[in-house]
């Protein structure tokens, strides 16, 4: 297998977070220098390795706090691994928490431009795509109103429209399919399917196993930071549901 056919590769990746960082003040730093207070660490991910080919689509399942979002943040480059290596070939569009940089006092159009530029879309492309983004979002005339007048659904639709217009090689999606009404959701599914059939790589985190079954060939099951199962979407979902079933029986 040539290296070029790899879209995403994780090599023994671990991520550790320090706990108690809500108290990032000088006093705590001084006490920890003198060893008076030990900060606890938390393994968000432990020794994860996998490889995703170009054009493959992978779902990630696991319970809350299993490390799914951390894994996507590693792909998008927001988080740097403490141990191991993350290799990403191609342009990533990460629909993590949507709407980076959105500010309630700016208008929809101003937020659109800011968000698009942060995602790495060039000035010229934003100009060309502007009307198409607005149209996809279905915001209409509200685009020139301040964002604080938008409903949550409208904000998410705007954010999603910007992100989906990035023309990525790799699309990373975190739970955002719960965005908007049914009509908008089906538009999003269509868009994601189009990207798939155009040979783009896809990575999705979702609690909805049916969404993963619909969109993915392959799935990872992560539990408490560890990779439990890596296989076809159906096998992984079966294993995951079997396990949670036996857990509820135990209770």
């Amino acid at each position: 297998m040539t290296k070029n056919s790899t879209a995403i590769e994780f090599q023994n990746v671990s991520v550790t977070f320090t706990m108690g960082h809500g108290r990032a003040v000088l006093r705590n730093h001084i006490t920890s220098w003198f060893g008076l207070h030990k900060s606890k660490s938390f393994h968000a991910l432990r020794n994860i390795s996998f490889r995703l080919q170009k054009g493959e689509s992978m779902g990630i399942i696991g319970s809350n706090g299993a490390g799914k979002s951390t894994l996507l943040s590693l792909v998008s480059g927001v988080v740097v691994p403490d141990v191991g290596r993350v290799i990403v070939n191609g342009r990533v569009a990460a629909l993590l928490e949507l709407g980076a940089g959105f500010h309630p006092d700016l208008t929809g159009a101003e937020n659109l431009r800011l968000n698009a530029s942060l995602l790495g879309i060039s000035r010229q492309r934003v100009k060309d795509l502007f009307s198409s983004i607005v149209e996809f979002s279905g915001i209409g005339d509200f685009i020139n109103e301040p964002l604080r007048t938008y409903s949550t659904g409208m904000q998410m639709r705007l954010a999603f429209s910007v992100a989906i217009h990035m023309d990525p090689d790799i699309l990373v999606v975190d739970e955002v399919l719960a965005v908007g009404d049914e009509e908008f959701q089906s538009k999003c599914y269509d868009r994601i399917r189009n990207l798939r059939s155009a040979g783009k790589t896809l990575m999705i985190v979702s609690h909805s196993t049916s969404a993963i079954q619909k969109l993915c060939d392959r799935a990872l099951w992560i539990d408490r930071g560890e990779l439990v199962f890596d296989g076809s979407a159906i096998d992984t979902i079966e294993a995951y549901e079997g396990r949670s079933l036996s857990r509820t029986r135990l209770k």
């Binding site: 320090t18 960082h21 000088l26 943040s73 927001v78 101003e110 800011l114």
Partner: protein
């Protein structure tokens, strides 16, 4: 990893800071003028009525030459320092080069300072001062002041992620600097043994150079210019170095 358009992001971040700041003010841009005018009035009262100082002519121009660079330094430094924490949502969501955020914070102050520069020019005209060739030096000297403040902001913004009390340190230092930058006293009143140190402070150096150019109509001494450039570049380099060592764990602390 992030293959975006740096100038476009910078432009949008600056527009955002500026609009957010002014959209919620009924007086809008006039706030930028009110602050130096009030300070000018107070300083004028104290230093012409209470402690009259005959060494100073053209008091309004003299003080504004000090206040404008000082205001840029103090506001830019504070805004830059808190910028990463204020924009934590952005840092945690997009892999945009982190350095852009504090730099945009500092640069967003340029618009606000530009208005104060206009006020200074207005007083210059009222004082009957004419334009000289040395005015061309001003943008260059200002460029280095901006570099200096960016350097400070980069270092302090990165530290502020780990030590949230950083902002109070910056604010206290600003109060001290108000007295240690020659805003309302001339260089000639500073005792000889301290003059050397004064010139290594880029803000003080800019104030002195601006007075040379605008009030005295002469070129600032070359040694002063060299010191301004030297200390600005050193601070900027140090700021970048601090930022680079600290940035990998921002996500964990924001």
């Amino acid at each position: 990893m992030w293959g975006g358009d740096y100038t476009y992001v910078l432009q949008n971040l600056i527009i955002k800071d500026f609009k957010v700041r002014y959209r919620n003010m009924s007086l809008g841009v006039f706030w930028s003028l009110l602050n130096p005018l009030v300070m000018l009035g107070v300083l004028w009262f104290v230093f012409t009525k209470i402690f009259p100082n005959n060494a100073i002519q053209n008091f309004p121009v003299f003080v504004l030459c000090g206040l404008v660079p000082y205001n840029f330094f103090s506001v830019g430094w504070v805004v830059g320092t808190t910028s990463l924490v204020d924009n934590s949502g952005l840092i945690k969501r997009v892999p945009v080069p982190r350095e852009i955020v504090p730099i945009a914070g500092v640069l967003s102050q340029c618009i606000h300072i530009g208005i104060q520069v206009c006020l200074l020019l207005l007083f210059l005209i009222l004082a009957g001062k004419s334009i000289s060739i040395y005015w061309l030096l001003l943008p260059v000297l200002w460029f280095f002041e901006i570099i200096f403040v960016c350097g400070l902001a980069l270092a302090c913004a990165a530290l502020n992620v780990y030590i949230r009390d950083m902002r109070y340190f910056v604010e206290s230092t600003n109060t001290i600097m108000f007295w240690l930058v020659p805003i309302f006293y001339p260089f000639s009143m500073i005792p000889r043994e301290f003059r050397e140190i004064y010139q290594f402070n880029p803000v003080a150096a800019l104030v002195l150079a601006t007075r040379n150019i605008l009030l005295d109509g002469i070129a600032p001494p070359e040694t002063l210019q060299i010191k301004l450039v030297f200390s600005s570049l050193c601070v900027f380099g140090a700021g970048l170095a601090v930022f680079h060592t600290l940035k990998s764990r921002f996500y964990n602390y924001l």
